[in-house]
């Protein structure tokens, strides 16, 4: 049951082969067994999940069930969910019970899905290893000494370990794709504006985008069908017609033009990752695709540009955590300024403080033009590179991350090394394009390797088709980590 796709689980539920309560309990039991080691979930409230499962069973009984009705989904702890503690991986929100639902949560509730719990994450989504979480690091089920990636590390670990049927994530610079790659699962970050950001705690507003994480492309399509759609509460949410993201899954790939950016295969890429990605491209050629050599000349600037813009926005977005209205407040202080300083010094972790300081600096009088404005200009150049590239190809492929999962603590004292693990994913956020990662092999250490697929704006259905056809021909996505064998 745990290895079935969402479609198959849904069929089983609708055929009454299993109830949602039973399915939910199955996952809750696994969480009880494996979460103490993996630390993928921050909050599990079985009675809430089971109550939702009972409602879902009622929908299944009266014939109003939809595709995901009754299916247990893990929610990244960045989404506000009414009555649930919503921490964003921070001490600052350790005690915060959300009084309202994020749009994404509302959508899943309306679809009859079960909220299985809130997954661990890097604090305020700032990190690539899940080591910045106030609630401790998440472990990679393929090797518990290794990181799961981040910031959606809890979601990736939970999906890989079959601690949920599928999960939500968010991706500001690679936070869905990189952990998906490191944990051997599939994940897609849709075009910016496709999924409402309402109720999703902001890191860098112009880059943040929610998306699904699951075991295969078909599951991602079913998840996207629920998550997407215009929301008037988010001014950057696009007013587009609803679409069925699974509609093109079975299209043949004959004639598909795959662009391989030279810059993604240059120095810095591990040999084993390069080999897996090459092998995947060869597989695509067998499926009828043709390969085009392309260039993204400004992609090398993506990391520095990102580390100006994302901290700038974050420094402002995180100002609301001031100890005045909710969340953490330092216990002892002498006056208002002292309260602010102690609250924020104690409530935020090191990486968050680092980025707030960088962001404050680049927006400061006298530095704004040199950093923020300059970065915005380069951002446009990076986006323009993709526009040119998509004149020559239908999708772009390359590695998701330069290496397989590294060990916990390995990059802890070198932020720049950590930042470079998102070198291939960040440009996609800067351009607002959809990007995904699917498993395509294992590296020298036996850990999963991710293939990144980048599509043109709004081409999610095509990307899922491209991924699905590969998954029909290969079985990387079906492998189960030995530590949690299911």
């Amino acid at each position: 049951m745990l290895n079935l796709s969402l479609q198959q689980q849904g069929d089983a539920l609708r055929a009454k082969k299993i109830s949602s309560v039973e399915l939910t309990q199955l996952y809750l039991d696994r969480i009880a067994t494996h979460n103490p080691v993996l630390n993928a979930y921050v909050t599990v409230e079985a009675h809430k999940s089971l109550a939702q499962a009972r409602s879902a069973d009622a929908m299944l009984a009266n014939g109003t069930a939809q595709a995901l009705t009754g299916i247990p989904i893990a929610q990244k702890d960045i989404f506000c969910a009414q009555g649930w503690r919503t921490t964003c991986g921070s001490k600052m929100l350790d005690n915060f019970i959300s009084p309202y639902d994020a749009h994404v949560i509302t959508q899943f509730n309306a679809a009859g899905a079960v909220n299985l719990g809130k997954t661990n994450m890097d604090e305020f989504a700032m990190g690539s290893s899940n080591e910045t979480s106030y609630f401790g690091p998440v472990r990679n089920p393929w090797d518990i000494k290794a990181v799961p990636g981040g910031s959606s590390g809890g979601a990736a670990s939970a999906v890989a370990a079959r601690l949920c049927a599928a999960a939500t994530g968010t991706d500001t610079g690679g936070s869905i794709r990189q952990p998906a790659a490191l944990c051997g699962i599939s994940g897609i970050k849709p075009t910016y504006g496709t999924v409402s950001r309402y109720g999703m705690i902001a890191f860098a507003s112009s880059l943040d985008q929610a998306g699904p994480m699951g075991r295969n492309a078909e599951d991602l399509g079913l998840m996207l069908n629920v998550m997407t759609g215009h929301d008037p509460r988010d001014s950057t949410s696009l007013a587009r017609d609803k679409e069925d993201y699974t509609r093109d899954l079975s299209k043949p790939l004959k004639g598909l033009r795959i662009g391989l950016p030279r810059e993604f295969f240059a120095a810095g890429l591990s040999q084993d990752v390069a080999q897996c990605v090459q092998a995947a491209v060869t597989e695509y050629q067998k499926l009828g695709a043709v390969v085009v050599d392309i260039s993204l000349p400004n992609a090398k600037l993506a990391v520095p540009v990102y580390y100006v813009l994302a901290p700038a926005e974050a420094s402002s977005n995180l100002s609301r955590f001031d100890g005045v209205r909710y969340g953490y407040r330092a216990p002892d202080y002498t006056d208002l300024t002292d309260m602010y300083e102690k609250t924020r010094a104690q409530g935020f972790g090191e990486e968050v403080k680092r980025r707030i300081m960088i962001g404050t600096y680049v927006l400061s009088h006298g530095y704004y033009d040199a950093y923020y404005l300059q970065a915005q200009k380069i951002r446009r150049l990076i986006a323009q590179d993709f526009v040119e590239a998509f004149k020559q190809c239908d999708v772009i492929m390359g590695p998701t991350s330069p290496s397989t999962a590294f060990n916990l603590g390995e990059k802890g004292d070198d932020p720049v090394q950590m930042y470079l693990s998102d070198i291939y994913t960040i440009a996609v956020n800067l351009a607002g394009l959809p990007g995904m990662s699917i498993p395509c092999g294992t590296g020298a250490n036996g850990l999963p390797v991710g293939l990144q697929i980048i599509g043109d704006y709004f081409k999610e259905a095509q990307m899922l088709n491209v991924a699905h056809q590969y998954q029909m021909a290969t079985d990387w996505h079906q492998r189960v980590p030995a530590t949690v064998g299911a």
Partner: protein
């Protein structure tokens, strides 16, 4: 050598939308603290702003009213600073690209000193931009604690910035009053200064003629025209005294204390925040199409300047009358409605009664023209009877009092009270003949040159007519008959 005063204003007008600029929470004044603070107002994690179109329409309306350029694209920016009543830790405002560009406002200045004559002046408006208000810190409600009320947080404001075009407290007050009139006139702000709907920051500096601008100090948050005048007078004198005694002016933000009549520095330039403005990524640029502008233009009423020109040119009213009649839109509309009843030829009569008797009575009862118990139709009905000679001026006053206290309609009151004046020449001649017959001696005295007795005959004849004789006609007949 004399000092020149240089003044510029920044006025925060609260826009009259029912809901906040970025959320659906109510903007009503005076509710229990934090009852109008929704998720967006208190800046819960994850909430997002959505721009209120009503606020944009009001900004456009203002821009059109002052002949300003409406930006086809303006941008919301975040102004970052920490304060307990600023829930997000930043205020959403507009910085580089405001919605309203350069415009101008013509003002009527009434000098405060001596015999100087009123004059007209045009003040240039630099820009006007949309922003959200902060909440309020409530000190002392609980011993030793400061409460935060976020009802006001997110209330839409239009900040209107002028050029430093004003040279006296009188001009600054005249500008503020003209602006106050305009925003109420076009219905974008209720203008309630006690409730903070119209707040003025005044930048003041002094210099010797021909010299570059002096260092300015900004008087914050003036909420009455009287205080504005007092604050400017005090501040100007303070700056002059400081400079003349060899001191220097430091740029500063200052507060006016109405109890002492003094200004005092709140913070100096050194303490000024670095607000780290940057475009708000949660909001798209505000695009305004020509069609939107035209839709708003169609809702714009005739403006005070246009009305004033019409009153002086078409009706031949004095500048003073035209100014008084356009002190508010309600006043002007009352006037227009009464003129439409009595006709343009009687515009002066209408103006006199409106500025005179009616305004005086409103003042006595502490009412606004909008609360006037007499409507324009009733008022016009009374004026029509003055104009056609049915009632005398004193009869009209009686009609007015009756309309004020009991309502009704002028014709019925005239009838009931028997106020119709006698204009029948035969009847007047008979009265005059009777009076002359009864006072033959005095007639003889008059005819022998005692002209002063004319007044006696007017009085006697008027009394005999029980005050109803048409005075002009009576005079005419008396003159003729007494001449013999």
């Amino acid at each position: 050598m004399k000092w020149e005063i240089v003044i510029g204003l920044e006025v925060h007008t609260q826009l009259s939308t029912n809901t906040k600029i970025f959320s659906g929470a109510s903007t009503a004044f005076g509710s229990e603290p934090n009852t109008q603070a929704d998720a967006v107002s208190i800046a819960l994690p994850g909430v997002l702003p959505v721009l209120n179109k009503g606020a944009v329409e009001r900004a456009i309306k203002f821009g059109l009213a002052v002949g300003a350029h409406i930006a086809p694209r303006s941008v919301f920016a975040r102004k970052n600073y920490f304060y307990p009543d600023l829930p997000k830790g930043y205020q959403i405002s507009q910085m580089e690209l405001p919605v309203v560009g350069a415009g101008a406002l013509t003002i009527q200045v009434e000098p405060l000193s001596g015999n100087a004559k009123p004059y007209e002046k045009t003040v240039r408006i630099t820009r006007a931009h949309l922003e959200e208000d902060a909440g309020k810190s409530v000190h002392g409600a609980t011993q030793g604690l400061t409460g935060i009320d976020l009802n006001r947080a997110g209330t839409p404001l239009l900040e209107i910035v002028s050029e430093p075009d004003m040279c006296s407290a009188a001009e600054a007050v005249a500008y503020a009053k003209a602006l106050h009139t305009v925003v109420r006139w076009i219905g974008i702000c209720d203008g309630n200064m006690q409730e903070g709907s119209f707040r003025c920051d005044v930048n003041v500096s002094v210099r010797k003629p021909g010299e570059p601008l002096g260092t300015r100090r900004e008087i914050k948050n003036l909420n009455s025209f009287k205080f504005m005048q007092q604050a400017i007078d005090y501040e100007v004198q303070w700056q002059i005294d400081t400079l003349e005694s060899g001191g220097k002016i430091q740029q500063a933000t200052i507060l006016f204390n109405p109890d002492t009549g003094e200004t005092r520095a709140m913070r100096s330039k050194e303490d000024a925040h670095d607000y780290r403005y940057f475009p708000d990524p949660d909001l798209l640029p505000l695009d305004i199409t020509p069609a939107m502008i035209e839709t708003v233009r169609a809702t714009l009423p005739e403006l005070p300047t246009t009305k004033r020109a019409r009153y002086t040119n078409e009706f031949g009213l004095s500048a003073y009358d035209a100014n008084s009649l356009t002190s508010s839109r309600e006043m002007a509309e009352f006037f227009d409605a009464s003129v439409s009843i009595v006709g343009a030829a009687q515009a002066k009569l209408s103006a006199n009664w409106l500025i005179g008797e009616l305004s005086a009575q409103l003042n006595r009862d502490g009412l606004d023209i909008a609360q006037c118990p007499i409507n324009a139709a009733q008022f016009g009905g009374m004026l029509a009877r003055i104009a056609d000679g049915t009632i005398s001026n004193s009869g009209a006053k009686e009609v007015f009092r009756a309309l004020w206290s009991e309502g009704g309609e002028a014709d019925a009151i005239i009838e009931a009270k028997g106020l119709k004046q006698v204009s029948d020449s035969g009847a007047i001649e008979k009265i005059v003949d009777d009076v002359m017959a009864a006072n033959a001696e005095k007639v003889a005295e008059y005819r022998s040159g005692k002209d002063k007795l004319f007044g006696f005959f007017v009085g006697a004849a008027m009394k005999a007519s029980q005050g109803k004789a048409n005075p002009a006609q009576l005079n005419e007949v008396l003159k003729q008959k007494l001449a013999g």
